[in-house]
Structure formats: structure tokens, C-alpha cells
């Protein structure tokens, strides 16, 4: 008797230890959730120091856009091995683009004799045309060396008479004017004398003031402006020509400031660029493919357009806002039907797309459960075909 009870117990325990019958299915579903394996994804990436290090660019920037294209392609491959064809990456990175500073500085204040020496300026003893200033510089410095900077103080008439201090920078074989500040502007920036006492002070104050200075001359994000400013500092180069290099004097410097759309900041010789890459199954290549995710009305549009051709599938798409992808189903959308449907949609939403324009269309599907799929189409000979 007892033996039978024991036997029953053993059978019971044995059967129980086999656990829940649905555990295997749960495990599969869970695994799918945790490890998405191969999938189509859209990455937005701003390269980090680690990313630059990974491709051997220890300075955190690229030498050129071409170099960026090559190296980022490699980076994406190792960084996103699970992404499948049709994935895209929008990558933001830095390209090294240095701006020049001067080698030798000349300071000069235009004198009455200088104005008198030119018939155009002799009468009022001031300039009233920028060409007159350039003519003067050419005369005054007939044999400039590369990266010579002239900090020129002169009187200029344009409605009112102002005394200006602007820089003239000889670079690439030509003089280029660099805006400086007037004495009044230094006063506005809180300076008792028309100069800054330290470069730190200049770096803080100038960006703030530039917003004001360019209020009526708006800049766009990414614009770099060059500014010449004066600094009262040790005369290490003997700019004043007194033979001493330990006294103080006022020197002029060129500063570059970059506008980000809202604020100016000191330009540190890097430009930020953004480029889209597409994955073709083997390589990440820069491309202009547009990604589009269908909205509710799009299914209706496609469904209505194809109702006469594919009654069941078209009706289903319009009704449920998705494409039925169950093989054998009365409402099944095959790949070819989807391409046809996307063509109809693109002709409606992008009638003027260029020849060769690629689209990756992402849409909701039903295959027993809800999900999404994507297909790639390209405009070829004016028609949208599978890509």
C-alpha cells in the first residue's frame, strides 16, 4: 500500500519537475526581446572621444570630410554589427579647419599728412570709401610678408565721422580687412581704456558683444567671424620699437568666433559636420536615402487606390491601417504588391522626387501579431521600383 503511495509521489514529483509547459515559448519570446539580433535601425550618432580613439583619431577630429567618410564607414560596421540592410546612421563629427593668426604686427594711426597725400582724402582729412583705405595700405606697406597684420586706426566718414581701428591681414597674397572695435565699443564692453587687460577677458566679453554687433547683420549657424581686438600686455615682440621686451604695450590680435545659431563662442579650429550613411548589407556608404514611416492616412490612400485590383488586401489595409503579411491569407500583401503600393503613395507625397532618389518605406504589418517592416524603393525612369 505504502509503496503505491510512494510510487504515486515519485511519478508526481517527476512530472512536476518538468515545469511549465509554456516555459520554452516564454524563453524564446524573452530572448527575442533582449537580443534584437538582426534588425533595421536608424542610428543618430555624435562621435565621442572613444569613437575617435577607436579609429585612431586621437585629436578628436578628422583632417577632411573625405577622411571622415572612410573612417566612419569602418566605425559603423564594428559599432552596429546587428543592423541590417536599409539601416541608416546620421553621424555628427568634427573636421580640423585651422584659422590663421598673424606673424608680425604693425600698428599705425593714419596722419593728416597721409590724408593730404591723396587728392581724394586731402580735403576732409578722412576716408569715405573702403577702396581709399586699401589704397593707403598698399602704398604704406608695398612689400608685405605673409600673415602680416596692420592694426590701423583711421577716420572714416559714412554719414558721421568715426575713428575706427580695423585690422588688415595679408594672407594668400591679398589684404583682408578684419573688423576691430572702436573706442566706444570698448567702453560698451566695460573697458576704461580701449583694450582688454587679458585674453581671458577678451574671450568672455567678445562673444557676448558680437551678438549685439551683428544684430542687423544676422549670422547663420556655423558662420565663423574674425575680429581684431586690442590687448594691453607685455611687449615681448617689441611692437613699440623701444628696444625693450619687458615693458607693456597695446597689441592687436585676431580672434575667431563661431556662431551656433544662438551664441558666439571662441572657434577652436574644428568644424562640426553631419552626414547620413546607409548600410547596403556590406558597407556603410554616405547616401541621401529618405526614410518614411507610413501614417494612418497613407494606408487608406493605398487601399483606396488598389481596391479594384486587390479587393481583399486593399480593404484590409484601409480598415486596419496595416498590411497583412500572412502567407496564404485572403488579405495577404506580397512584396510586389507592397512595392506597387509604395509607388502610389510616393507619387502622391513626393511627386517631384529626383530620378535615382531612394526611399526606405516603413509600415505596420500584421502577421498574426502586429509589427513593422521596411522596403527600399528607387525612382528609375520616373517609376518607383524595388531597390
Amino acid at each position: 500500500m505504502k509503496k503505491i503511495i510512494y510510487l504515486l509521489t515519485i511519478v508526481a514529483v517527476g512530472l512536476v519537475s518538468s515545469c511549465n509547459p509554456v516555459d520554452d515559448i516564454y524563453d524564446d519570446l524573452e530572448a527575442l526581446e533582449k537580443n534584437p539580433l538582426i534588425q533595421v535601425g536608424d542610428v543618430v550618432l555624435e562621435l565621442s572621444d572613444d569613437d575617435y580613439n577607436a579609429i585612431g583619431k586621437t585629436y578628436g577630429n578628422f583632417n577632411s570630410t573625405d577622411e571622415a567618410k572612410d573612417l566612419i564607414s569602418d566605425l559603423l560596421k564594428t559599432k552596429y554589427p546587428n543592423l541590417d540592410v536599409s539601416s541608416s546612421a546620421l553621424v555628427t563629427y568634427n573636421v580640423y579647419a585651422p584659422k590663421s593668426s598673424h606673424k608680425k604686427l604693425y600698428r599705425y594711426t593714419v596722419t593728416t599728412e597721409d590724408y593730404d597725400a591723396n587728392d581724394d582724402t586731402a580735403e576732409f582729412d578722412n576716408f569715405d570709401d573702403i577702396a581709399q583705405v586699401y589704397a593707403f595700405i598698399d602704398t604704406k606697406y608695398p612689400t608685405p610678408a605673409d600673415r602680416d597684420l596692420v592694426s590701423l586706426t583711421y577716420k572714416y566718414y559714412s554719414g558721421t565721422l568715426n575713428t575706427l581701428n580695423n585690422g588688415f591681414f595679408f594672407i594668400d597674397g591679398a589684404w583682408e580687412m578684419i573688423q576691430g572695435f572702436t573706442d566706444a565699443e570698448y567702453t560698451l564692453m566695460g573697458e576704461g581704456f580701449p583694450n582688454f587687460s587679458s585674453s581671458d577677458e577678451a574671450a568672455v566679453k567678445i562673444p557676448i558683444y558680437l551678438k549685439d554687433k551683428f544684430k542687423y547683420e544676422p549670422k547663420e549657424a556655423g558662420d565663423i567671424v574674425s575680429i581684431m581686438y586690442k590687448l594691453y600686455t607685455t611687449d615681448v615682440d617689441d611692437v613699440d620699437g623701444d628696444g625693450r621686451v619687458d615693458d607693456n604695450t597695446t597689441v592687436s590680435l585676431i580672434g575667431y568666433f563661431i556662431y551656433d545659431g544662438a551664441e558666439f563662442s571662441k572657434y577652436n579650429n574644428e568644424i562640426m559636420e553631419t552626414l547620413q550613411f546607409g548600410f547596403d548589407g556590406t558597407n556603410w556608404i554616405p547616401d541621401n536615402t529618405i526614410k518614411y514611416t507610413l501614417g494612418r492616412d497613407d494606408y487608406t490612400l493605398i487601399g483606396d487606390a488598389l481596391l479594384a485590383t486587390y479587393a481583399g488586401p486593399a480593404g484590409s489595409a484601409a480598415r486596419y491601417g496595416n498590411f497583412d503579411r500572412r502567407a496564404g491569407n485572403a488579405a495577404e500583401w506580397t512584396y510586389a504588391m507592397l512595392v506597387e503600393g509604395m509607388g502610389i503613395l510616393l507619387n502622391s507625397i513626393a511627386p517631384n522626387a529626383d530620378e535615382g532618389q531612394k526611399y526606405i518605406m516603413t509600415f505596420d504589418i500584421y502577421n498574426g501579431s502586429a509589427g513593422t517592416e521596411s522596403i527600399s524603393v528607387i525612382k528609375t525612369g520616373g517609376v518607383w521600383v524595388a531597390n
Binding site: A12, P21, E332, G368
Partner: protein, 843 residues
């Protein structure tokens, strides 16, 4: 039973001489027999056994004979001597024997007799129902029976489904006291209509395959023969109270007057059951009542009136969900997306409410020693329906506009606000009920006569008249002013309000005229029968909505189908222990109403074919006092099957496909055994292995939405597909052990495997040809139970506790296939661990 009662008449009670006590047990199972009659021979003095099978009887004579009887058992007589006022007769065993059932009952109810009737039979007795059933669905009492697969469907109260040998309920004849209860129009059995029946059932006999019924009944998978209590011979009663998981509460009582001197006897029983349901949003409230009044007119005539019913209302889970939905939902396997809250109140969007009282009047007439005639006249009136919505669907499981979270209850207040905002445009979303009311009258008369000592002739008629009324009732405008309905051709643009009929409204009429004859031969070890039944089924349809009033098409003529069945079989008892039997049968039955009138209109299907079923079976039985063993092999070929397959759309609405002309082959082996090595221990076991497949593809299957609008026509490729939602391999092992004299422990294990998802008719196009439906993971569940009997203030009382799915196994019982994979199948999970604890007090 009635003959026992006869014996008790015209006797007198004398003064007491002493008290006789004892216990009656089932000779088969060793279980106590509650409700057995114990009567002093030649007197009306008697008692019935309590839940423990115990009786106590005051006698006026010092010695005599006790007649112990119980329906379905051989009556036994034992002598007693009441010396010193008290006598304990100890344990008396009754041997089960359907042949010992009142002959009239056996004949009228078409019960099978062991080692005589050549069909495969399993019998469940009252004691097992009362101890094991608990909060389970009534058909679940059969879950350890070979060939039977029972699930709770969505899990709502009474939403169980019973399948036999892979056939669904419309192909399993369910008979209560010999009266067929399958729906006259679609053959379905709704268990919620019969939820109180378990309290008053004395025996359930499952006949697999052709069965013993002489009527033309849909016993393709088998027959479930439910025999209710009739009148108890002795006065008494009981009170029960049961509680369980999720607020399950049941109260009930039974009262019997016993046979009175004037020949009248009455038994009444009633109960109330309520609870929240294991599945979220399946609150339920059910009542049941049972009344039996018997009158012994004279020696040859007796009358018996039985009336019973079970009004109920319950929340349902209609939408199957993905396995991943259940896995990720906070509510786990209890998740139900078909309910919500309105103004803080629970609202079941998919509720069900029904009441189907059934009344049966039996007349038993003993014409002579050789002949008798029994006539049953019956009626049932069904009222009720099932809820759902109409208009804009805002109930999708992922529709977060109306749910706080995926799978969270629907926030109906938002829908109310939107409907209010629509003002005079009317509600765009409403709740409705699909109503299905009916009136059913019938009569069955059976004449039985012994032609010779060995040959019995049984013949009779079976007449039925049925009217079904189908319409959609607007039940809740959800805040709006009205709802514009275009269902009625006579009143398009109808401004409908609560209580109005919308969408569709029609009546179906079914008339049934049947006759049957059976010849039985029985001599020595051989018994055999040949039976013929013929029936004419007439259908007629009247459509109030789809046709204008003046259109003669709105009412059809009667469409008649002639069906017949012929079957025969023989049993041979090789010796005292071994018997073999065989049966074979062929029948044609009328297609169902919806295969005759297509498209939910008066479109008569000129090509509607009778369904043709051929079945053959071999059986072997082995009997000793310890071991009972049965082995069957069967093969059922079913051609031109008509089937309505309902399936769920991706947005949670339901479509149905009318699939005509399918062939199916069901074959298998079944083994069942009972072993009783000692008085205290009983072991049971069974193995059932089936191979049930669809055999052909079907073209031109029309698909309709739930508003009965045709939405598609498809070809379905299902040849070779496994018949779904019925475990093709089942296995059970159970034991009950009397640990103490008053305490019994039970342990049962049930295994179900090879259970395939039902195919989705909309997803079986050409490219799905040959793709097998998804196979659900096999599962095994443990149930444990304990019964303890004790004295409670002078009353006999018992405590009964059951734990179902002891180890809280998570398992899938029903699935709808999508593309043969687990991740896309829509499923119902079975219940986790549930329990009931109940007490019963006898008086």
C-alpha cells in the same frame, strides 16, 4: 425507482423496536454512496444514506430484511436483528449495474448496460461529482475519461467546451433524462445553461462513438447521458456551502418530502453561485433550481414532472490574445481585454446572460409483464444573449486612446464623453446584445415489448418543434442620444434607443419528426441489437430586417431533409471476466440551419447535403472484483460536414466562415482501467490516442463579419490538417485513499498532448497549403482533494476541499492558428491554481 416506490405503498409505521445503522459503498469504486435508499422490506419505513453513505433507521420489529437500492446498482437485501435496541450492519457494498437500473429508465434514457450493450462507456456517479467537481465546469467531471477533452474556453462561468474523440459539442449528443438538449439550429451545447445541474445529477454516462441512443441524435463523437435525481423515497435534505478562489461562493439546499401516503413525492433543490472568476472581468452570478414531483397513480401508471433551470449572467473573455501579450501583461494569464469601467462601475463588454428552463413530464405505463410505454413531453424556453459592441471599434487591445495601458480595462467614460459630444449625430459606439431566444416543445414516446424470451422490440416517435428568435438588442448608448441603424430594410436610418432591435432580426423554425425501432436479442453470453431511426427535419426562416414587409421572399417555405441512421452491434461475454463487442453504424443527418439558409438571409442553399457519418468500433472488457479494464478501437469517417468557424480579426472583432462539404477522419485507441487493491485504495487510469484529420480542401468559403455582412470569399487548403482544439493524446492517473475511517485523500493527474490550434479560415490560402497548424505545448495538471466526514451537532456533516492545478502550471488550452507558429497564435490560457472548500450538512 418508481417500482421501488410502489413496493412501499400501503404500509404502516409501527412503534420503534430499535435502531439499525450501517454504511453503503460502491462495489466498483469503494466510494460511499450518498442518497441510497434503505427500506425495511414490506414497509414504508426507510431512510436514505448521508454523504458518507451512512444510514440510521428506527425499526419496529426485532428482525427483518432491509432492501437497499440505488439508481444504477443491483438492489440488495440483507437481514437484520435489532437486539438490545441497536444493530450496526457495517459496510454493505452495492454492485454497479446499469441493468439493475429501472428497466424503464434504461430504455427511456438510452443507458448502456455493462457487458451487454456493445458500446464504449464510462460512468461518473454522484459521489464523484459531489466530491471532485467543486468550482470546475460541469463537463470537467469527465476530464479523466478517455476520448474526452474539456476546456473552459475563455474562462467565463459556463463557457466550457466539451469535445469527444475530437468532435465539438454540436457533434456530441447531450441528453438530460433521455431528452436531447443540443441546440436545434446549430447543435451547440451551452454549459452555462446547465450550471446547476451538477447538484442534482445522480449519474453521468458517457457513451463514446455511436452510443446506445435509439433516437437520431448527433452522437458522432459520443453521447453524454445525464441522469438527474428523481424523487427520494425518504424525507430529508441537505444544505451546502462552498467557498473558493476569487470570491467563489455557493449556497444550496435539497429537500425531499419522501413518498407520502397519498402517492405524492416532491424533491426541490436550489443554489446560488457567485464569484469574480479566475480570469479578470469574468464576474458571475448564477442560480439554479430543480423540482421533481412524482405521483404514483396506481400499480400501472405513474407520473413525474421535472423542471430545472439555471438563470445566470457572466462576464466573458471572447478575445484570445498572443502568448506574448499574456507574458508581458501585468495581469499574466488572467488578462482579459473585454471589460472596462463606466462611471466607476464594472462593465463586461462581452457578457452573457441566459435562462433556459426545461420542463419534462414523464408518464410511465406498465401495460403488462412484457410491455411498457413511457412518454416524455417537454418544453424549454430560452431567453438571453451575448454582449458586444456596434459602431466604431474603440476596444482594441492596443488602443491606448481608451485604455490607460495595453490590456488595461477599457475606460468607457471616454467613449461616453465622445458620444455626448456628438450630440444629435447620435452615438458612434454602443453596446449591444446578440439575442437568441427560443421556444422548444417535444415529445418522445417509447414502447417496449418482449417478443420472445430473448427478443425485445423497442419502438417509438420523437417529435420536436422549435422556434428561434435572433436579433441584436441595443443595450447601452454609452452616453449618446441614440444610434442610427440601417439594419432594417423597412426602416433605414432608424433612430434606435436602448431596448430596440438593430442590425438583424429573424426567426428560424425547425420541425422534427422522427421514428425509431430497435430489436434486441439476448441469450446467455450473447447480446445484440439492430436499430433504425428516421427523421425529417424541416427548416423555415422569416427575416424581418433583410426584406421589406411586402417582399414575399421574407418568409421561406419549409425546406425538408430526410435523415436516417442504422446501427447494430453485438457483445459476447467470453467468460465471467472477459467480454468483446463490436458495433457499426451509418447515418445521415440534416445540415444545420446556417448551412441551409446562407448569408444570414433567406438564400436557400440548393446544394445543402446531408452530413454522412460512418463509424465502426471494436471493444474488449475485463472484469474482476479488483480490476476493471476497457479497451476500444474506433474509426469514424464523416463526409459533407457543415461547420461554422468563428474567428477573431486583428482588431478584436469576429468573423465567421461557413465551411461546407468538409470530410474528416477520426480514429483512435482508448484504454481505461480501475484498480481497487484494497477497500481503502482506488486507482484509476486511462490513455487515449487519437488521429483526427481534415481530409479535403474547400473552395468558395464565404466569410461574414459579426453584423452578418459578407466580407470575403476564400478557398481554404486544409487537407491533412489536424483537427484543432482537442488534445489527440490524453492520459490520466488518479488515486483515492481512505487515510482514516472518516477521511479520504485524492490525487489526480491529467495530461493533454497533441493539441493543435484551430485553423483560421481566412489564413488557409494556397500558399498555406501543407502548413500544419501550431501544436500547443503538452501539459499535465495535478488536482488534490480531501473529504472529511464528521458529526456536527447531531447532523451528519462533511467537509470537502479541492485544489486544482496544484503546481500553478501555465498552459494553453485553446488556440487559433495564424501561420503555424507559437508567436502568432491567438490563445487562451487555462486557469492557474484554484481551490474550493465546502461543507455539507445532512438532515
Amino acid at each position: 425507482m418508481y417500482f421501488t416506490i410502489v413496493a412501499l405503498l400501503f404500509t404502516a409505521i409501527a412503534f420503534s423496536q430499535g435502531t439499525i445503522t450501517g454504511t453503503i459503498v460502491d462495489g466498483d469504486s469503494g466510494e460511499f454512496l450518498p442518497g441510497a435508499n434503505v427500506v425495511v422490506k414490506g414497509t414504508i419505513n426507510g431512510a436514505t444514506t448521508d454523504f458518507d453513505g451512512k444510514y440510521s433507521l428506527n425499526v419496529s420489529q426485532s428482525s427483518g430484511t432491509l432492501v437497499i437500492s440505488y439508481i444504477g446498482y443491483k438492489t440488495k437485501e440483507i437481514s437484520f436483528t435489532a437486539t438490545g435496541g441497536k444493530s450496526d450492519l457495517g459496510r454493505t457494498t452495492l454492485e454497479a449495474d446499469a441493468s439493475a437500473l429501472d428497466e424503464v429508465i434504461v430504455t427511456t434514457y438510452s443507458l448502456a448496460i455493462d457487458r451487454k450493450t456493445p458500446v464504449a462507456v464510462s460512468t461518473i456517479k454522484a459521489a464523484e461529482i459531489q466530491t471532485k467537481l467543486g468550482s470546475q465546469e460541469f463537463p470537467e467531471i469527465l476530464k479523466s475519461t478517455p476520448g474526452v477533452f474539456v476546456t473552459r474556453g475563455g474562462g467565463g462561468f459556463g463557457d466550457a467546451s466539451l469535445r469527444m474523440r475530437g468532435f465539438n459539442s454540436e457533434n456530441v449528443a447531450v441528453m438530460i433524462n433521455g431528452i436531447p438538449v443540443n441546440d436545434m439550429e446549430n447543435g451547440v451545447v451551452y454549459w452555462s445553461n446547465w450550471s446547476g445541474l451538477s447538484d442534482v445529477t445522480s449519474t453521468v454516462q458517457v457513451q463514446r462513438g455511436l452510443g446506445a441512443s435509439k433516437l437520431a441524435v448527433p452522437s458522432i463523437g459520443g453521447t453524454m447521458n445525464i441522469v438527474t435525481k428523481s424523487t427520494d423515497a425518504v424525507k430529508g435534505g441537505n444544505v451546502i456551502m462552498t467557498t473558493g478562489n476569487n470570491g467563489y461562493t455557493k449556497y444550496g439546499f435539497t429537500l425531499s418530502t419522501g413518498m407520502l401516503e397519498n402517492g405524492w413525492a416532491t424533491t426541490i433543490a436550489a443554489s446560488k453561485t457567485s464569484g469574480q472568476g479566475f480570469v479578470d472581468g469574468t464576474e458571475f452570478l448564477g442560480y439554479s433550481y430543480f423540482l421533481n414531483i412524482a405521483k404514483k397513480i396506481n400499480d400501472n401508471h405513474s407520473l413525474s414532472l421535472t423542471a430545472f433551470g439555471a438563470p445566470q449572467t457572466h462576464g466573458q473573455r471572447q478575445n484570445r490574445l498572443l502568448i506574448d501579450d499574456f507574458r508581458t501583461s501585468e495581469r499574466g494569464i488572467k488578462t482579459n481585454t473585454d471589460y472596462g469601467y463606466k462611471n466607476g462601475q464594472f462593465v463586461s463588454i462581452e457578457d452573457n446572460f441566459y435562462h433556459k428552463p426545461k420542463m419534462i413530464l414523464n408518464h410511465f405505463w406498465t401495460i403488462s409483464d412484457k410491455s411498457n410505454l413511457t412518454t416524455s413531453v417537454y418544453a424549454s424556453f430560452g431567453t438571453g444573449g451575448g454582449g458586444g459592441f456596434s459602431g466604431v471599434n474603440k476596444f482594441g487591445k492596443y488602443n491606448l486612446n481608451y485604455r490607460d495601458d495595453e490590456f488595461a480595462p477599457v475606460n468607457l467614460d471616454i467613449i461616453v464623453d465622445e458620444n455626448k459630444a456628438l450630440g444629435l449625430a447620435g452615438s458612434e459606439t454602443i453596446l449591444r446584445a446578440s439575442r437568441n431566444n427560443h421556444r422548444w416543445f417535444g415529445a418522445i414516446s417509447t414502447y417496449s415489448t418482449a417478443l420472445t424470451d430473448n427478443i425485445e422490440l423497442i419502438g417509438g416517435v420523437d417529435i420536436r418543434s422549435y422556434k428561434g428568435e435572433h436579433f441584436t438588442e441595443l443595450t447601452d448608448l454609452l452616453g449618446g442620444e441614440f444610434f442610427i441603424d440601417n439594419g432594417d430594410q423597412n426602416n433605414p436610418g432608424n433612430i434606435a434607443r436602448v431596448g430596440d432591435k438593430i442590425s438583424y432580426y429573424d426567426e428560424g423554425f425547425t420541425s422534427w419528426l422522427g421514428a425509431f425501432a430497435q430489436v434486441e436479442y439476448s441469450k446467455d453470453n450473447l447480446s445484440a441489437f439492430v436499430s433504425l431511426a428516421a427523421s425529417n427535419t424541416g427548416y423555415k426562416r422569416l427575416d424581418y430586417f433583410s426584406y421589406v414587409n411586402t417582399d414575399p421572399e421574407r418568409e421561406t417555405d419549409w425546406i425538408n431533409f430526410f435523415g436516417y441512421s442504422g446501427k447494430g452491434g453485438a457483445n459476447y461475454n467470453l467468460d465471467e471476466k472477459n467480454n468483446v463487442f463490436a458495433n457499426i453504424g451509418y447515418f445521415e443527418r440534416a445540415p444545420f440551419n446556417n448551412a441551409v439558409f446562407l448569408n444570414f438571409r433567406n438564400d436557400i442553399n440548393a446544394g445543402a447535403e446531408n452530413q454522412k457519418i460512418f463509424s465502426a468500433e471494436l471493444g474488449y472488457g475485463f472484469r474482476t472484483s479488483e480490476l476493471k479494464l476497457d479497451l476500444n478501437v474506433y474509426r469514424t469517417q464523416w463526409n459533407d460536414r457543415t461547420e461554422t468557424v468563428s474567428f477573431q480579426n486583428q482588431d478584436g472583432t469576429f468573423n465567421s466562415a461557413n465551411v461546407l462539404g468538409v470530410n474528416a477522419l477520426h480514429q483512435g485507441v482508448e484504454l481505461e482501467a480501475q484498480y481497487r487493491p484494497t477497500d481503502k485504495l482506488r486507482l484509476t487510469g486511462m490513455i487515449s490516442i487519437g488521429d483526427w484529420t481534415w481530409q479535403n480542401d474547400v473552395t468558395g468559403v464565404k466569410i461574414f463579419d459579426d453584423q452578418q455582412v459578407e466580407v470575403d470569399e476564400v478557398d481554404i487548403y486544409i487537407a491533412g490538417l489536424k483537427v484543432g482544439n482537442s488534445a489527440q493524446t490524453t492520459f490520466a492517473l488518479g488515486g483515492s485513499y481512505e487515510v482514516l475511517e472518516s477521511t479520504t485523500l485524492r490525487l489526480d493527474y491529467n495530461y493533454a498532448g497533441n493539441n493543435y490550434a484551430d485553423y483560421d479560415p481566412s489564413a488557409r490560402g494556397l500558399s498555406a497549403a501543407g502548413v500544419q497548424a501550431w501544436e500547443m505545448p503538452a501539459y499535465g495538471l495535478f488536482d488534490v482533494g480531501l473529504t472529511h466526514r464528521f458529526d456536527f451537532g447531531g447532523f451528519k456533516a462533511s467537509l470537502n476541499a479541492n485544489v486544482y492545478n496544484l503546481f500553478n502550471s501555465e498552459y494553453i488550452t485553446d488556440a487559433r492558428d495564424s501561420n503555424g507558429t507559437a508567436s502568432t497564435a491567438l490563445v487562451y490560457f487555462g486557469a492557474g491554481t484554484t481551490y474550493t472548500v465546502g461543507a455539507k450538512l445532512n438532515f
